[in-house]
Amino acid sequence: MKLRILLADDHEIVRRGLCSLLQKHDGWEVCGEASDGREALEMAKQLKPDVVIVDIGMPYLNGLDTTRQLLQHDPHFKVIVLTITDSDQVIREALDAGARGFVLKSDAARDLVAAVEALQSKRMFFTPRVNDLVLAGFLDKGHAISRNEPPSLPTLTVREREVTQLLAEGKSSKEVATLLNLSTKTVETHRSNIMRKLSLHSIRDLVVYAIKNNIIQIQMPPQLRTTPPETTLA
């Protein structure tokens, strides 16, 4: 029987590339493709894939919270996280969320097949930098990984994390309520709880918090011209 893989990435062109890579392997099939975290959760519950590959920077529900919710639903899910950065914080969050594989997007063409093979053999797969960090933590009696910064979102519930991402993406309380099938009043209660717990005072503070804690990711442009074009944008 073939190994069934669910892919979640918001870029169809990336999913095409990943599919093409994974389907070269005779014993594997991509059983589904999701374009955001919420869709990935629904598809995983329905399709019960052997391996789930999730991009971290997805809209509506990011890959780390998707991983947390998947494993909360069924701890047997095997998740590989795809990421554009292997910063200490992202590594900590991915390990904390329960990912068994951690692959840099830039190295996916080289590492993803090895990562899926590792999970298939009930092993884990991490980039060398993750291994170094984990080893440093072990040698330092487990303190190195957690001593510098407290874990992010220490006090938020799963629902509050979802609401945080959607608000930081610019959605109104009403839009969040529709997306999560809640009443607007419930969303507003979540919103004020989030602000209180995190000591934030505005949506701007919330957006900054969400970026700093990898709840949403932003794309930095290369250096643009300092002089604006003469024709103004309408």
Partner: protein, 162 residues
Amino acid sequence: MKPKGATEPQRVVCTELPRRAEDFMAVRILLVDDHPIVRQGLRTLLEGRPGWEVVGEASDGLEALDKVESLQPDVVVLDVTMPRMNGLEACRLIQGKRKDSGLEVLFVTQHDSPQMMREALDAGARGYVVKSNAARDLLEAVEAVSQHRLFTALARSPQALW
């Protein structure tokens, strides 16, 4: 159904040239992106089109300059943010060197921004497509620019460029 007041994303396609049999000619394409997995996705999409050939790949602007010289493609599909030399700089240099060769540059980028689109067109590109919509827009865009027509499409709500 779209909510009331929703607007279609801005897409600009110049269609002055009539469709002719020779419009469906072979197109030789160079792919430039620093992520191999993105290049793979673009390649599978482009090679599904009869007559189109991905003649080479490059992972940054400098490599793209070399490959433009050695492979002489008809269309360069170019990312903006890349190591060593970004796509805007590469585009300026490519167009400077190959001004009269008929080569066209099409940007495929994550930057869903009118300002970046203007930068790209000012650098000499003939097309601009946002990566999140590449699967929808890329074939039409390559077809347009290979016939020296303008193709631009942002994913966000419209903001007039001109």
